[in-house]
């Protein structure tokens, strides 16, 4: 079995995806991108509780890396086209998670993405986002619909945690682009110092 890094948001999907990978026997590390001040403490609290439940179920330590993503969001909002906010955000998340994967000796990245649920999850935007990393990305829920994911979340006990009250991420643009191409995205990234932003984010990571 392999060692992988899972992006955990606090939502319904990511703990379900993690559950499938753990059930297969992979050793997993969790990464949560901390979007404060654009959200409140609830996403982190949910991730902590999701992991407590899954650690207990699968008897794995599942270290959690908390990465400060708020400063990145502020820089992106100030400097880039808001329509591409979701794709740009995800590119930073992937690259930060890849750095953690290298540190942890992990050989793949993973996410709870399913196709087409939100703006960042169209094929076009997924392609633009994941072009930023080298490691393979595993998506255990890619073919699931929302109802199926919710059913599994309820059966493993993570649904109640995921649906606790919380503030929606305010960094999401009002009109996110549902299509993008790499040329457009790279042009936006030229407006910011990508490497320094990722270095800062990863350097300030906290292990919980």
């Amino acid at each position: 079995m392999a060692r992988g890094v899972m992006l955990m948001s606090g939502g319904i999907d990511s703990p379900v995806a993690l559950h499938y990978l753990l059930r297969q026997g992979h050793e997993m590390v969790a990464v949560h991108m901390d979007n404060r001040p654009f959200t409140d403490d609830s996403p982190l609290a949910k991730v902590v509780d999701h992991l407590a439940m899954l650690r207990d179920r699968y008897h794995q330590p599942i270290p959690l890396y908390l990465l400060p993503h708020g400063p990145t969001q502020i820089t992106l909002m100030r400097s880039t086209d808001r329509h591409f906010g979701c794709v740009l955000c995800r590119r930073f998340m992937w690259r930060s998670a890849e750095r953690i994967a290298v540190r942890e000796g992990a050989t793949f990245l993973a996410t709870g993405e399913a196709l087409g649920q939100v703006a960042s999850q169209t094929l076009s935007n997924m392609r633009s986002a994941t072009a930023s990393v080298q490691l393979p990305i595993v998506r255990p829920l890619i073919g699931f619909d929302k109802q199926e994911i919710e059913r599994v979340a309820k059966s493993i006990g993570t649904y109640a945690i995921s649906t606790r009250p919380g503030v929606c991420c305010q960094a999401v643009p009002d009109k996110p682009a549902t299509r993008s191409n790499l040329v457009q995205i790279l042009k936006e990234e030229e407006r910011v110092d990508v490497d320094t932003m990722i270095d800062d984010c990863v350097r300030k990571a906290v292990i919980l």
Binding site: P37, F38, I74, P165, V167
Partner: protein, 100 residues
């Protein structure tokens, strides 16, 4: 006029929306906050200010109060209103018929 506060879709905070729309000049708003010593984060398309509760202010005039306490959200709105000269919030529905 701002509509009465309502829980946001994820139930973690209260939002206030003006009808008709009341766009807010964020540059001017930031200056007002700083003039009275209120910490504010400037993300260009929105401000996040630390008043009684933390509040996100969008250019479109939408306000999101990061608290589940409606009274704290209302207090924060009133303070925000005085600093930024915002329209009033609509009155609460009356509890019952007037006496006398």
């Amino acid at each position: 006029m701002y509509r009465r506060l309502r829980l946001c879709s994820n139930r973690g905070g209260y939002e206030a929306i003006a009808e008709p729309a009341h766009p807010i000049d964020l540059v001017g708003a930031k200056a007002r906050f700083e003039a009275v010593g209120i910490p504010v984060i400037d993300a260009r398309v929105m401000l996040i200010a630390h008043l009684d509760s933390e509040v996100t202010i969008s250019r479109a005039g939408r306000l999101l109060f990061k608290t589940q306490d409606p009274r704290l959200a209302e207090r924060t709105f009133e303070r925000l209103r005085s600093i930024l000269e915002l329209p009033a919030m609509e009155d609460a529905p009356s509890a019952g018929p007037a006496s006398g």
